[in-house]
């Protein structure tokens, strides 16, 4: 160690195990972050950066599959409430019924996922002690709490409609008075349910979530529309599936174009969206969503095509949510995505400083 011999000094300093990590020696610029798997491409050329033994700087969220599943189910529920209200107003009873039941299903699944993540139901109530505008999770809890009851009522009214007339007795007769108002109220509250989850992810220091904040809400509402209309295509007869077909195409186009724009604006933090598991999920999402939308264009003539396109759209939405969720987690685990963008900003614009 006596001569400061250029870059070779790096290798001589640490034990073997340390050296094999590319960023092992602190204070010495290293090439790239973690090792990449086979067949993965990078959008941005590798950047030199410095880190502390390659260890993460920010911490990944301690969340598991519950949360992306929740994102998917919440979007499905919200989109379905919108479809159900439209179907109700335009006289499409089968679409209305399936969409209302899907909304309730999505909502129940969401709540189950949340409670599972928290460990026990009573912990959900802790969040109802406060309303806090700076916390998207608090805002979202209140949005869900407002949306849940009318969505549930609309589904309940639907179940009552399915009963034989002689069974609709007592309080059940009231169902037809709440039927349409509950459905419309649910539809009114549904769009924020679909879009707030983007803010939930973006309001963090997780690089690939935060940097996506401009476009992510549009990706998520597009994905919600695609999923809900996908379910509509699976369940509704040809005579009623027109709106679902059009919403499927619109949702898919919105999702795909905004996702593309998002990747363009994210700089190096778009990288995790192309690599490893999240990369595969995102590629699958694009193929499934595009295929589902293409199928939806033809789905006015064949029940089979409609059902297949619907299934593809549902699967595509699922992959989008998991892909974006996991890409964010990856970006938090690699210090590169924290250091490099901040360094670039420092070089180009100087430090972030408040002015007035």
């Amino acid at each position: 160690m006596s001569t400061g011999g250029g870059d070779t000094a790096v290798g001589r300093d640490g034990p073997e195990g340390v050296r094999s990590q590319t960023t092992a020696v602190p204070g010495v610029p290293a090439h790239g972050g973690r090792r990449r798997g086979r067949g993965e491409r990078t959008m941005v050329p590798d950047a030199d950066f410095v880190s502390y033994y390659g260890r993460p700087i920010v911490k990944p969220a301690p969340w598991e599959a519950d949360i992306p599943a929740y994102l998917f189910a919440g979007g499905l529920a919200a989109g379905s409430s919108l479809l159900a209200a439209g179907a109700d107003l335009t006289g499409r009873p089968v679409l209305r019924r399936s969409a209302r039941l899907a909304a309730l299903g999505g909502l129940s699944f969401s709540m189950a996922a949340l409670v599972h993540d928290l460990g026990k139901p009573s912990r959900f109530l802790n969040m109802l002690r406060v309303a806090k505008l700076t916390s998207p999770m608090s805002v979202g809890t209140w949005i869900l709490s407002a949306y849940g009851p009318p969505a549930g009522l609309a589904a309940a009214a639907e179940v009552v409609r399915m009963l034989p007339p002689e069974a609709r007795r007592g309080p059940l007769r009231l169902a037809r008075y709440v039927d349409r108002p509950a459905g419309l109220l649910a539809a009114l509250l549904a769009p924020p349910v679909a879009s707030y989850t983007a803010v939930l992810l973006s309001d963090t220091s997780t690089p690939s979530w935060h940097e996506a904040y401009r476009e992510l809400p549009f990706v998520f509402v597009g994905s919600a529309a695609a999923a809900a209309s996908g379910l509509g295509l699976v369940t509704a007869p040809l005579a009623e599936n027109g709106p679902a077909r059009r919403l499927a195409v619109a949702g898919a186009v919105l999702e795909l174009t905004m996702e593309h724009r998002m990747e363009q604006s994210m700089g190096i933090t778009a990288e995790p969206l192309h690599q490893g598991r999240p990369g595969r999920l995102m590629r699958a999402a694009k193929v499934l969503t595009a295929a589902g939308a293409a199928g939806a264009l033809l789905a006015g003539r064949s029940r089979l095509v409609a059902a297949a396109s619907g299934a593809a759209l549902l699967a595509g939405s699922w992959c989008t949510r998991f892909g974006i969720f996991e890409a964010g987690q990856e970006s938090a685990r690699d210090p590169k995505y924290t250091v490099v963008p901040q360094r670039r900003r420092l070089e180009e614009e100087g430090p972030v400083r408040y002015s007035g």
Partner: protein
């Protein structure tokens, strides 16, 4: 949307305890100035913190990262001492740190740790690499991402301007974890049977000790006064003087980190004097609290929601099928 938030609510200079509603008789904001240039890496702070706060043992491994065997700040590690062995290939002349070495004793300054100016001549320096040591801790940010996003109100601002988790209110949602720009706070997952498993944990700036008018355990234990505790305002002053002195002594690498109330988190209550770029120590180079962009995020989300509503209405217009 931004008008829903008060002036400088989300970022910019601010007295955090005043903003949180504490009255005129509140104590002055408390914090740490950690002068890493005199840290000797003894880890007394790590030990004192664990003892006082009853923080369970963390994994204790030979990590192959110099003398760092406590890995990182996490739920079970509220102080963490970083060790960096830096070859001179880092591209700067080394400076005599006054550390024990194998060369002849007293290689000629006697002015203490940073008396000697940077040496241009490699032969005059007893070492061609340097040690950097730094005791890291929660920054007690002016605009704390963790506190902003906490949906239960478990994270609070104390009268001392510090940020503390109320263990009995936290529901373990974990949202604070990715919100922190420094990766400090974490949900405790082990060891089994320890208290507060499943609850977010981090440095409290020894809230109980401050309440009793005492100095935090880590600062008390630090033998070199690398960890200095006090009123943030006064510490900022002291830090400026220290940097100036080091610059005069030729240590041009010395810089402050977190002391600027105009920075991305409104300045930190615990700030640092560093001898290299922040990321060398595992700090983000230019952190910004995520909630700074929250008004913009809500605006985008509202636009997206309207897009969805309009789109869903339009698809029902027109053709009957």
């Amino acid at each position: 949307m931004s008008s829903l938030f008060k002036e400088n609510d989300l970022w910019g200079p601010l007295d955090p305890s005043a903003e949180a509603g504490y009255g005129e008789d509140r104590p002055k904001r408390k914090g740490f100035f950690t002068d890493t240039s005199i840290c000797i890496g003894c880890k007394a702070c790590e030990v004192a913190c664990k003892e006082w706060n009853d923080v369970p043992a963390d994994h204790f491994d030979m990590l192959g990262s110099s003398y760092d065997n406590s890995h990182s700040l996490n739920a079970n590690q509220w102080r963490h001492v970083a060790f960096i062995e830096q070859p001179s290939s880092r591209g700067r002349a080394t400076v005599d740190l006054g550390m024990p070495d194998v060369g002849p004793p007293g290689s000629g300054d006697g002015a203490g740790a940073y008396g000697a100016a940077a040496s241009e001549d490699p032969d005059a320096s007893p070492m061609d690499f340097r040690w950097l040591m730094s005791s890291d801790v929660c920054k007690h940010c002016t605009h704390a991402g963790c506190l902003d996003v906490c949906p239960t109100g478990a994270l609070i601002r104390t009268e001392f301007g510090t940020v503390v988790v109320q263990d009995d209110v936290c529901n373990g949602c974990g949202y604070c974890v990715p919100a922190c720009p420094y990766g400090v706070i974490e949900r405790r997952k082990e060891p089994e049977g320890a208290k507060n498993v499943g609850i977010a944990q981090k440095c409290t700036l020894c809230y109980d000790r401050l309440d009793a008018g005492k100095v935090p355990a880590c600062a008390q234990a630090c033998p070199t006064q690398s960890i200095q505790f006090g009123d943030v305002e006064e510490l900022r002053e002291r830090a400026n003087q220290r940097v100036e002195r080091l610059h005069e002594a030729g240590v041009m690498d010395a810089r402050l980190y977190g002391n600027d109330p105009d920075d991305g988190v409104g300045g930190t209550g615990a700030f640092f004097l560093l001898l290299d770029e922040p990321e060398v120590y595992g700090f983000p180079p230019d952190p910004v609290v995520p909630t700074r962009d929250l008004p913009h995020m809500f605006r985008q989300a509202s636009r997206a929601a309207v897009t969805l509503a309009v789109g869903a209405a339009v698809v029902f217009l027109g053709r009957r099928r």
